[in-house]
């Protein structure tokens, strides 16, 4: 199992770097298919932008740490922040798209998107912050 670790300052303009690294790591052998790379780029952006925001203002000088775990059958990426933590089960869900009040909500799509885009996600409190772990399964290798 290989591991790639990236540490960035908690600044939103580093998100493009994070997307690049994680997608490049996931495209290494055996690569995730292109459409799953899209899912991964978006899920990582959402989790990482939450992490970066969670560093404001107390942990502005601490890094957000992104680690990629490359296994034969799955790709896992962990986003670790030093924010205040939160309870993902306590988040209110958004009104249905056909409900006129849906238009009142400009935020709150990040975690629902992560759940749809990944095969598995966990949110673990980690002492002084949160680790969001997202897993995408690799397709089985074609028979030889």
């Amino acid at each position: 199992m290989a591991e790639i670790v990236l540490e960035i300052p908690p600044r939103l303009d580093y998100l493009a770097v994070v997307r690049l690294v994680v997608a490049t790591a996931a495209a290494l052998d055996p690569p995730l298919p292109e459409s799953r790379l899209d899912d991964l780029r978006l899920a990582v952006t959402e989790a990482c932008s939450n992490a970066i925001k969670a560093h404001r203002p107390e942990a502005a000088d601490q890094p957000v740490v992104i680690s990629c775990h490359l296994d034969e059958d799955r790709f896992r990426v962990d986003i670790r922040d030093r924010g205040p933590g939160f309870d993902p089960d306590a988040l209110r869900s958004l009104p249905a798209p056909t409900d006129p009040s849906r238009l009142q909500h400009e935020s709150g799509l990040g975690i629902p998107l992560i759940k749809v885009l990944t095969d598995d996600v966990t949110f673990q409190p980690a002492g002084d912050g949160t680790i969001v772990s997202m897993t995408l399964k690799r397709p089985p290798a074609p028979p030889i």
């Binding site: 899209d38 978006l42 959402e46 249905a96 238009l103 400009e106 990040g110």
Partner: protein
């Protein structure tokens, strides 16, 4: 992300052409442009997303806010031009394809029935 704003001669619709990545770092610029347009009375706006290769939840939220503001005026709307399967997939995954009017080109977006 790059933004370009163009008036069309179709029924007073204005086209905002976005390109590149609309993420939490760049979306505020799109929000400002949409808000400026709508507050100045240009409440019929098409956002052309054909050259957008990435959008995140903040970008989507900006579009939702634009729709709300625009639909607050009689005949107003923010509509999308989008055929890129990557972006359409995200609109579907969030249910927002039922909120936005989405056309394959400007004509189609303009002539769709209001929601």
């Amino acid at each position: 992300m790059e933004l370009e704003i163009q008036d069309t001669d179709v029924q007073g619709w204005t086209v905002v052409t976005a390109s590149g990545e609309i993420d939490v770092a760049t979306a505020p610029e799109l929000r400002d442009r949409l808000t400026d347009l709508i507050e100045a009375g240009t409440t019929r706006v098409i956002v052309d997303m054909e050259d957008v290769d990435f959008i995140d939840s903040t970008g989507l939220g900006v579009l939702v806010g634009g729709v709300r503001r625009a639909r607050g005026s009689e005949g107003g709307d923010v509509r999308l031009v989008c055929t890129n399967p990557r972006i359409l997939k995200v609109l579907q995954a969030t249910g927002l394809h039922e909120v936005f009017i989405i056309g394959a080109d400007v004509d189609e977006a303009v002539s769709a029935e209001p929601r």
